[in-house]
């Protein structure tokens, strides 16, 4: 079995047993990158030196019989909106082409402590704003299953790198579905934790009350391992959950017979027939595992896109104010006055989608409009949270498709609103801070992946992993590898 098809567990296990060296693993990874990157465009930068140095150190540690971390020698990729100290963090933006992060995100510290090896930074929609990775200022990542298609977004580079078997683990960030939707479109696992489960310190903020960092992997067990390493309380993040996190690897092995799945059938009425059929089949699988299926009312989610595009853009408009060309980033070369430093640097540095959202966000917070827009949206958000709580009184997990459609042709969605509506099934979990996972659940007629989304209640990680593991085991979709990347 080739190195690149191994799970995180298997890689680190083989390394720990001495069957393969860390240096071999890293070299193999970079060889695949050299071969496939030209057609994949998943990476914005590679950390070759850093990775080889780390691999050397690990091989030495192994030789000296020193204790090794849980992710020893596992090559990982990091979405380019997460700070890796000393490496360029562009967030997919022209603004930050020269920005070398002065500190590590907490998750990076946690992963490196467990001896993971950072291979490179992956492409994403600019400042995580988008659902196709086409908003990146640098390149358009391709979907490994069909290169003319988008991998989804905003964590498209990370999803593609995992689906193409370059790395077994890549980090993404999710604000409205940016881990799960590309996970679904690329036929892999994409998990967004409960809000506050993983530290946001070092993640370049987009929507502060929505953002979470999460793993993209090829198996539920790999995602669980990644989550056990990354899911720790962080005193540098005031919104970090102060409670002890339960283990996930052991929890997910628990049998699911008797578990109840809630399906908001009414909300899924507009699904296109091919996807509806696929979803219904997924539900059949759940039933066959002994899960009960009940109807739940989440019709309120029809407002979720509207809420999101007010709250997230409002928060983003202030989070992105710091990009002003003064302290870091690219300052306009022609700016002669302070006003020009601001106005021109931001005009040059931001792409059209980012500008659109900043202006929308500024508008909904502005005097005279804040009540009608921002406060109203936050009120409806309260109702969303309430409705989810009511639904979870009747069920353990909520199942929906992850996305209303599979991978679409690059450049085919030009209307911003149409793109926003791609997140209709994922946004709810962000608004309510709930854990949600997308897992492969089938393929379209022409072989593009379809994803099933399982959402859990607050702190319901164990339940989500439990349900997902059972579904994965029963369907084994993870075994299929995109032809070009076998």
């Amino acid at each position: 079995m080739s190195l690149h098809t191994l799970s995180m567990h298997d890689i680190t296990s083989r390394f720990q047993k001495g069957e393969v060296s860390a240096t071999e693993i890293v070299k193999h990874t970079f060889a695949r990158i050299e071969k496939f990157e030209p057609s994949l465009d998943a990476f914005l930068s590679l950390c070759k030196e850093r990775a080889l140095e780390k691999a050397e150190k690990l091989d030495l540690k192994k030789k000296q019989n020193q204790p090794l971390g849980r992710l020893a020698a596992v090559p990982i990729a990091i979405k380019d909106n997460i700070n890796v100290e000393g490496e360029i963090t562009t967030c997919g933006s022209k603004f930050l082409t020269n920005f070398r992060a002065p500190f590590n995100a907490t998750v990076i510290d946690l992963l490196e402590k467990e001896d993971a090896i950072i291979i490179g930074k992956t492409n994403c929609d600019e400042f995580a704003m988008g659902s196709s990775t086409e908003n990146s200022a640098f390149k358009k990542t391709k979907n490994p299953w069909k290169l003319s298609c988008a991998p989804g977004g905003s964590s498209g580079g990370s999803a593609a790198a995992v689906a193409a078997r370059i790395v077994p683990l890549a980090l993404g960030s999710d604000t409205g579905g940016s881990i799960r939707q590309p996970g679904s479109l690329c036929g892999i696992i994409g998990f967004k934790p409960t809000y506050g489960w993983v530290s946001r310190y070092g993640l370049v903020a987009f929507g502060s009350s929505l953002d979470q960092i999460g793993p993209l992997t090829r198996s539920v067990a790999d995602a669980a391992l990644a989550m056990e390493v990354m899911g720790k309380h962080d005193k540098l993040d005031s919104t970090s959950i102060p409670k002890e996190r339960p283990p996930l690897l052991s929890e997910m092995k628990k049998p699911v017979a008797g578990m109840t799945i809630g399906v908001p059938w009414q909300f899924l009425e507009d699904l296109e027939p091919e996807y509806k059929k696929s979803f219904e089949e997924s539900i059949k699988v759940c039933k066959s595992l002994g899960m009960k299926v009940v109807d739940v009312d989440l019709s309120i989610l029809k407002y979720s896109v509207a809420i999101y595009y007010i709250v997230a853009t409002a928060e983003a408009s202030t989070n992105l104010a710091r990009f002003d060309g003064v302290r870091y980033g690219v300052r306009s070369k022609v700016a002669k006055t302070l006003d020009e430093v601001y106005d021109l640097s931001r005009q040059d540095g931001f792409g059209p989608e980012v500008k659109r959202r900043i202006i929308l966000g500024t508008f909904v917070l502005s005097s005279g409009y804040q009540d009608a827009y921002y406060r109203k949206a936050q009120k409806v958000r309260s109702l969303v949270i309430k409705k989810y709580k009511e639904a979870f009184e009747k069920c353990d997990l909520i199942a929906t498709p992850t996305s209303p459609f599979s991978a679409f042709e690059l450049g085919s969605i030009k209307d911003p609103l149409q793109m926003y509506l791609a997140d209709i099934y994922t946004i709810g979990a962000d608004l309510a801070g709930l854990p949600a996972m997308s897992l492969p659940s089938g393929f379209t007629q022409d072989g593009r992946p379809i994803g099933l989304q399982l959402t859990g209640p607050q702190l319901g990680e164990p339940t989500v992993f439990q349900g997902a593991a059972a579904f994965e085991d029963a369907t084994q979709f993870y075994k299929k590898i995109p032809e070009l990347f076998v």
């Binding site: 997460i82 700070n83 963090t89 967030c91 930050l96 920005f99 992060a101 002065p102 500190f103 995100a105 946001r200 310190y201 070092g202 993640l203 370049v204 903020a205 502060s208 009350s209 005193k235 540098l236 993040d237 005031s238 919104t239 409002a314 928060e315 202030t318 104010a321 710091r322 990009f323 002003d324 003064v326 302290r327 870091y328 302070l338 601001y342 500024t362 917070l365 502005s366 005097s367 804040q370 921002y374």
Partner: protein, 492 residues
Amino acid sequence: MKQEKTSPWEVIIGLEIHAELNTKAKLFSGAPNHFGDEPNSNITPVCTGMPGALPVLNKEAVRKAVQFGCAVGAQVAKFSQFDRKSYFYPDNPRNFQITQFTHPIVIGGKIDAMVDGEEKHFHIHHAHLEDDAGMLKHFNTFAGVDFNRAGVPLLEIVSEPCMHTPKEASAYASAVKAILDAIDASDCNMEEGSLRVDVNISVRKKGEPGFRNKTEIKNMNSFSNLEKALHYEIGHQIAEYEKNQDKNPLDVIPQATYRYDPDQGKTILMRRKEQADDYRYFPEPDLLPLVLTEDFIEEVRKGLPELPLQKEKRYVEELKLSPPTAFAIAYDKKIAVYFEECLKYCQNAKSVANWILIEFAGRLKDKNLTLAETAIGPCHVASLVKNIDNGTISGKIAKSIADDMVEAPGKDPEEIIKENLAYRPITDPAVIAPIVDSVISANMQSAQDFIAGRDRAFAFLVGQVMKKTGGSASPELVNSLLKQKISEITPK
């Protein structure tokens, strides 16, 4: 320009005081909160607005804010929240400040102050926590930004618009400073910028409903400049209104921000407020609500040191000082400490107060020093008073001794007395007795009055003897000789 009672104009003044809290670390990060270091040496990703940085609230800043709230009898909010205030400026690392707009930590409060000998009560609207901006150093065609100060905790104390004269404004500000000093919440140094006072001022005709446009004057660096700036602005506004009687009052004085130029003696326009700045306040999503328990607030309240007002009351009630004297001491921490130290050695509070506030203060004014800043110890001042009280020296001699103490700070007055013949009171009866005789003969009526029971007559006679001896006779001796001589007189 004095606000006369007959003036048809009424002045309305409100103060916003920003006090930098003297915590060790900044408000939202562990960067050192320290003044005067090399630029950009006390910074972290949080206070420089690095991408990915997040704020975490400093416990001690909260405690100091609560202390202040308790000290002014305000309501300390059990639930308060932080908000983002958006505006672009180079010293603002995130281009939004984290402040408290909707739910501040301290609500209401009262400030008592002495204005022209009269006790007045002023009201605080609220006080809230927020982070300070960095510092801009202006050069000719460019500016440099130093982020050392960015993120320092500020307690912004906003008054009700309840002051009506520059003196009231300055008294209020001094009283607030005294409280911050007493609870050790801030260095309160106006020159270093750890205490900043902004005023809002408008005028209107007496009895006029509503407010006319107010102007804001920022960053006066002393209380006396504060008063001067207000005097100027009041005069300016009234003159403008009187010049433009036929215009709509709201078109006469525009809402604008000024700074005071002490050299020119006037306020200079900084910028107009064409429209109210749209700060787009909304709750800070990176911070959860600040929740305080009743127990915590009580604990802080119980731990408060004696506050200036309590001190003042104690001085009046127990030490029998007059309210203005009591105020002057109680509201200046350094003087209060000095004064109370003196009282360990000598119990004549009134006299000690006089020597500190008037006699020594006057002598040190030219040297631009306060008593506490010199080497003249409280025990020395106490010793001086004691020697007057026990009759060793007269008041007049004491003044000369005080002059010497100022020239040679640290010298014990008893040393000075020993060394200087002229200060040693004449204790030889042979020298004093003839003088006493001559005074009595010249003032027989007074002597008779004293025999008849009028004690004031005796004091008069003592004074006459002291006058004749140039103040250098031992009061004790004069007293005893006079009594003796008078007793030998046959009462009429």
